[in-house]
């Protein structure tokens, strides 16, 4: 198998966290993998040992979705929201709220798919409701990894290791 592409994470504004990843497939397939429950349940699983027993998607503007995950130990995690843009096969925008409310209110998650030479770049933009919401999310530690900016921090740590 070829070497897997690397994930990039940036914070272009106060309210956004942006994750990009290239996959070796045309955009229509990627869009399906993001929007068809039977496909999504096979990959969006999170940490090792977790499954996604609930995946309901009403794919239309104003339609709702609901995802639930379960660990081998029986812990559960859930989230859901409403689609505000559905542009097959290039763009998907939805609100997102975790049951545990890690993000202090709704975030808006935009998924953009751009195809070039048979490969697709998936850009996920997570926008927080407000600066306050983002700062509160920061305190939970869930999104702080993004805030710190993985790449820059990695560079910093490489320097630390050398120093």
């Amino acid at each position: 198998m070829t070497k897997t592409e690397t994930l990039k994470l940036t914070t272009p504004t106060d309210r956004d966290a942006v994750i990009t990843r290239v996959v070796d497939a045309p955009r229509g397939m990627v869009f399906d993998a993001y929007t068809k429950p039977e496909l999504l349940q096979r990959w969006m699983l999170g940490p090792p040992g977790w499954t996604m027993p609930v995946c309901e998607i009403d794919l239309r503007v104003g339609g709702k979705y609901r995802y639930e995950w379960r660990s081998a130990e029986g812990e559960t995690m859930g989230m859901g929201g409403t689609f505000s843009e559905v542009v097959r096969p290039v763009r998907l925008v939805a609100t997102q709220v975790f049951d545990q409310d890690w993000t202090s209110g709704e975030t808006i998650v935009a998924t953009d798919i751009v195809e070039k030479n048979g490969k697709s770049t998936i850009t996920t933009t997570i926008r927080f409701a407000s600066r306050e919401a983002r700062d509160a999310a920061l305190q939970t530690g869930m999104t702080t990894g993004m805030e710190a900016g993985f790449e820059r921090l990695e560079e910093l740590l490489k320097e630390t290791a050398r120093g």
Binding site: T4, E5, L7, L9, I19, R21, V23, D24, A25, M29, V30, D32, A33, L39, R42, W43, M44, L45, G46, P47, P48, W102, L138, Q139, T140, G141, M142, T144, G145, E147, A148, G149, F150, R152, L153, E155, L156, L157, E159, T160, R162, G163
Partner: protein, 132 residues
């Protein structure tokens, strides 16, 4: 998924600023005084001192004993703890995307097979059908 303890939150809050990250990068190369740290930035010493206080509260840096210079130096442990957590989070995303890679490959081969079947079906029967 949630990391434990206040200190990790303080570490991340301290790291969520480009100037403070640059200060840490500078200190990674060796200890430095406030004026030495202020030099590369278009900032006053009081502004730099404010950033240093945040880093100090997060336990990311400490002050040297030397009374006059009071050089700041990097404390590697909190930074390493923060990265451990980031690495876990990053791994979750990476694991998702690697499963997506595998799924997309499977979808591609299924589609190719479907296309092959359609092409074969469309070919004139007399030429391509093998006799059984």
């Amino acid at each position: 998924m949630k990391p434990s303890g206040y200190s990790l939150d303080a570490t991340f809050a301290a790291l969520a600023d480009p100037t403070r990250r640059a200060i840490l990068a500078r200190l990674a190369t060796g200890e430095a005084t406030v004026s030495e740290l202020a030099e590369p930035f278009a900032m006053t010493q009081p502004a730099i001192s404010k950033h240093l206080k945040v880093l100090e509260r997060a336990g990311l840096i400490t002050r040297g004993r030397e009374a006059q210079r009071r050089p700041r130096k990097l404390e590697p442990r909190p930074l390493a703890e923060a990265t451990d957590w980031i690495e876990r989070y990053r791994k979750i995303w990476e694991a998702n995307y690697q499963r997506l890679d595998a799924l997309l490959q499977e979808m591609k081969s299924t589609q190719r097979k479907a296309v092959d079947e359609l092409v074969n079906a469309a070919k004139p029967k007399s030429k391509n059908r093998k006799r059984k």
